[in-house]
Every structure is written in structure tokens, then in C-alpha cells.
Symmetry: C2
Subunit: 198 residues, 2 copies
């Protein structure tokens, strides 16, 4: 059975983007720091690429997922990954305007209003692979709906100071987690895997 | 040379206390969850005690420090640990009202207005041992003053949702960290040690 897994790079102080996020500044000011571990260069230009070592194994984990789910904010900032996040796996976008958006959707893209339904559809589409989940708002809604199975956080050795936090505006109810593994990656990145205890 | 080391238990979502902190509710609502790993019981009553295993080794590290520094908030909530945090080591309290407070200070307690001076005095008093640093406001001021050498965080496997964050209201300047170690403790607690890169 496919699991829904949140993959996010987060600073030690809890930020997943710097301040002043905009479409032309998708990671916010200085937010690229959180993704250095995924950046190489080609002909002098920085490019996202598979890292080597332990970090590469983590890359492989999220790049072999069988479906992707995200919400309005991440879809907008990434332009919906042009309809293909990796290997043409199905994309599920949660949006309150799902019906209208679906009319112009590219192939393999499904818009849904309900986060739990989106996660169920993505799990079914992913088959025996996991579902890659992204986004701050989606995380909040998926936790509230009990629709998130695991958190895989890439903890970046920096205090960003300001920006967008991964965990913000949650209700005061505790969400207990079970630690699955802690792996020291290259460049000081620590990969933390937790199961959401329901 | 003694190092100044922040020791704090923090939830995965960055909280070190629950909401509604008061003198009679020092950890905030539900904040005791963050300290379960330090709690045992004696005659049916919960007590703070040395845990066994890896967690016990971490306890030993902060209970063999040679001086303690904290700020107004933590001092107030703990009543200044009654003048003795552990083994009678010197206590340094940073407070804007230092001169007045010093007049009624118990032995071994020094009030200072300046965080860098407090940290220097504590390092000197600690000799070849480290300095235990506690507190949210103090962390912010000590980072700004370049007076914090290391962060040792005990990452608790829970999302608290609301409460007081350890890292809040920092300037947007990045503080780079060097990972020193990642150790899986008992009860899902992960001990993260970082050096502040200056």
C-alpha cells in the first residue's frame, strides 16, 4: 500500500523558504540555501541534479515516487512543474477552484478540492510506490485530515531567521511521531524520517 | 577554553513550550511533553531524574557544565532555580535591571545587563568545563552578539502545534552551522549538536 510522504528541506529554525516569496522569487530571499545540497553546476550555470552519496539515495527515494500531491501555493510557485514533476507520474493538485482548473489541465494532472480524496487518489495511482507530498498549506490540511503517513525532512544546518515556516498555524493538538531513521547526509544535511502516529 | 552551549528540548515544529506560559504553568499547556525523556517517578509522583542509556549521557553533559547563563524569562519561570541549578555552579542572569536585582542576589548569582559580558564571565567561571545556556530571548541576543558557541538540541518526536518557539524574531541574516553529531536517544529523542560558524 502506497504511503503519503512529505519531503521538505527545512532549516534548523523551521523555514522552508526565505522572506518575500513571489513567482519570480519562488524560494524567497536566500531560500536557495536550503537546496544547495541538490545543486550542481553545468557549464557554469547552477542546476538541480542528483547528489552523490547518502544525499543521492534520498534523491532516489523521492524521485521514484509514483504520484505527487501539492496545493495551491507550491503549484503556483512552480507553475505546476510544467505538468511533469518526474517520469510523468500523475500529479494531484488540491485547490478550491478545482472544477474550473481541471478544464485546462494538461494530461496526467488532476485537480481536487478535498485533500483526503486527493491523497487517496494519489495512493491508488502510485500503486506499490509512495506518494510525494509537498507544500506548507497542504501539510497543514493533510495533518488535520489524518491523510499524511510520513514526514521525511532534510534538516539544513542553518538558521534562516525569517521566511516561511513548514509548521505554522497548526491547531494546539499534539501530533505524535515515531522516529523511523536519522541519517547524516553530506554537506551537514540530516535526513529525519518520522511516521505520523494516528 | 569553555564553550557556551545552548541546551534545549524542542519539538520537531520548533516549540520549547506550549501556549499559555505562566509562572504556575512554566512549560505552557502540554509543554511537559517535551520533557518526558527527563521524567521518572518516585512514590507515584513524577520527578525529573537522570534517564538511562544515551539520554543519560546527554543529561551528564549538561549537568557537568561549570556555569549557567539565562535571561529574564527563564529565570522568572524557574524562580532562578532557587539559586542552584546543579552542584552549586555559578549562575549568570542577564537582565536590564541587573544593578537593582544584584542587591538581593543569593550567593553564586551574578546579574549582568550585557549578554556578551555575561557569557565571558560564565566562561571564565566554568574553567575547563562548558557553560550551560538556556532560554529563548537569551538565544536571540547571544546569537546577535556572536556569543553562542554551540547548539545542542534534543529533538522531540511530536508536533506541538502552538506555543513558544525557540527561534523567533531573528534577523534575516543566515547563521551557518556545522553539524557536530546526530545521536538517536531513547523515546524517539534525537540529540543534534551544531557549532555556530562565525
Amino acid at each position: 500500500m502506497a504511503k503519503s510522504v512529505l519531503y521538505m528541506s527545512m532549516s534548523l529554525d523551521g523555514f522552508i523558504a526565505g522572506p518575500n516569496e513571489r513567482i519570480d522569487n519562488g524560494l524567497g530571499d536566500g531560500g536557495m540555501r536550503l537546496h544547495h545540497w541538490l545543486m550542481g553546476s553545468k557549464a557554469g550555470e547552477p542546476v538541480v541534479q542528483r547528489p552523490s552519496g547518502v544525499n543521492g539515495e534520498v534523491w532516489d527515494a523521492f524521485m521514484t515516487t509514483g504520484a505527487v500531491v501539492t496545493g495551491h501555493g507550491t503549484r503556483t510557485l512552480t507553475d505546476g512543474w510544467g505538468g511533469d514533476h518526474h517520469d510523468g507520474v500523475p500529479l494531484f493538485f488540491v485547490d478550491r477552484d478545482a472544477a474550473r482548473l481541471q478544464q485546462d489541465a494538461p494530461p496526467r494532472v488532476t485537480y481536487l478540492e478535498d485533500v483526503a480524496e486527493a491523497m487517496d487518489r494519489a495512493r491508488a495511482a502510485a500503486g506499490d510506490r509512495d506518494v510525494l507530498v509537498h507544500g506548507v498549506g497542504l501539510t497543514r490540511h493533510a495533518l488535520a485530515a489524518g491523510a499524511l503517513d510520513e514526514l521525511h525532512l532534510h534538516l539544513i544546518p542553518v538558521l534562516l531567521g525569517q521566511g516561511r515556516r513548514l509548521f505554522e498555524n497548526l491547531p494546539p493538538d499534539h501530533v505524535e511521531l515515531e522516529r523511523l531513521s536519522t541519517v547524516e547526509g553530506e554537506d551537514g544535511v540530516t535526513h529525519l524520517r518520522y511516521r505520523v502516529v494516528v
